[in-house]
C-alpha cells in the first residue's frame, strides 16, 4: 500500500480525463490546479482531530456531534461539505470503520486527502468482508469480543469515527488530545 499515487493506474486515468476536459474546452490546467489547491488548503485530519478532542472534553459537544455531524462541524467553524456527516462512536465493546465500496467517498475537509489504500480495490472489497483481518494488517488487533461495525459510504452520508479517549483524558488539555488523533483513527483503521 504505497503512498505514491504516480505509480497507480488511477493516476493515469485521471490524467487522461483531465486531458479530455481540457481538449473539450471545459477546463484549463490552471483551473483544475486552482480547485485542488483550494480544496486541499484547508482539508486536514487536524480538523477531524479538533472535533474528537472537543467531544472528549465536552459531553454536550459530544452529544451534538453524534446527533448532527454537520451542525457540530459548523459549530467549530470548520468547513461543512455537501453531504450528511454521521459520526460513529467507538466504545470498549464496539469498533467502527469506514469504507466506500463504490468509489472513495470520504469527508476530505475533515480527514485530509484520502490515503491511496482507502481507494484501493483491496481495501474496498475486504473491509466489508473481513474487517478484523484488514484491521490486523494495520496493526490493530481487536479483542475477540469486540463488535465490529463497518460503514459503507456508498451514498450521501460521510462518516467520521469518534475513537475511545485515552486514559486520563479528563486531565489532558484539548490541543494535546487533538495531537493524539490520527487520520487512520478517524477512519477506524487505528485505535485513535
Amino acid at each position: 500500500m504505497t503512498g505514491d499515487h504516480g505509480e497507480l493506474p488511477v493516476a493515469a486515468r485521471v490524467r487522461r480525463l483531465e486531458e479530455r476536459l481540457i481538449a473539450a474546452g471545459l477546463a484549463t490546467d490552471a483551473e483544475l490546479d486552482g480547485v485542488l489547491t483550494q480544496v486541499f488548503a484547508s482539508a486536514s485530519p487536524s480538523n477531524g482531530a479538533r472535533m474528537v478532542a472537543r467531544a472528549w472534553t465536552d459531553p454536550g459537544y459530544r452529544s451534538r456531534l453524534l446527533a448532527d455531524g454537520n451542525a457540530a462541524t459548523a459549530e467549530l467553524g470548520l468547513p461543512v461539505g455537501h453531504y450528511r456527516l454521521t459520526v460513529v462512536e467507538n466504545t470498549p465493546d464496539v469498533h467502527n470503520m469506514i469504507v466506500c465500496t463504490l468509489c472513495s467517498c470520504y469527508p476530505t475537509a475533515l480527514l485530509g486527502p484520502s490515503p491511496s489504500w482507502y481507494k484501493s480495490f483491496a481495501y474496498r472489497s475486504r473491509a466489508v468482508r473481513e474487517p478484523r483481518a484488514v484491521l490486523a494488517e494495520f496493526g490493530l488487533e481487536l479483542p475477540g469480543g469486540t463488535e465490529i461495525q463497518v460503514w459503507d459510504a456508498n451514498s450521501e452520508t460521510r462518516y467520521l469515527v469518534l475513537p475511545v479517549p485515552p486514559e486520563g483524558a479528563g486531565d489532558i488539555d484539548e490541543d494535546t488530545l487533538a495531537s493524539l488523533v490520527t487520520r487512520d483513527g478517524l477512519i477506524g483503521t487505528a485505535i485513535r
Binding site: P131, Q149, D152, E156
Partner: protein
C-alpha cells in the same frame, strides 16, 4: 412519507440496472434492518440521466453471516427507497 420504519426488516432488490446505481452488488437479495432514515436525496440512478427525483434514504444494517455466510461483524449502508422491498 417514508415507506419503511426504523427497525423494519427489508430486502435489497436483486435488479441489475443497465446504468449507474448506488446499490452495491454485495447486498442485492440480502435482508437487513432499517437503522435510521437519512432524509430524502435525489435517486442517483436518475440523476445521471438528468432527472431529479428525491426519495427517502435509509441506513440499513446487514449481518456478515447474511452477506457472506460467516462472520460476526455488521455492514451498514445507505439505500434509496426504490432499492428496497418489504419482507413478507
Amino acid at each position: 412519507m417514508t415507506r419503511f420504519a426504523v427497525g423494519a426488516r427489508v430486502r435489497a432488490r436483486t435488479a441489475d440496472p443497465d446504468g449507474h446505481t448506488r446499490l452495491p452488488r454485495y447486498v442485492r437479495g440480502h435482508a437487513g434492518e432499517v437503522l435510521a432514515v437519512r432524509g430524502t436525496w435525489p435517486l442517483p440512478d436518475l440523476v445521471v440521466r438528468g432527472i431529479s427525483r428525491a426519495e427517502p434514504v435509509y441506513a440499513v444494517r446487514f449481518g456478515a453471516a447474511e452477506l457472506w455466510g460467516s462472520g460476526t461483524h455488521s455492514v451498514t449502508l445507505d439505500l434509496w427507497e426504490s432499492y428496497l422491498e418489504e419482507i413478507a
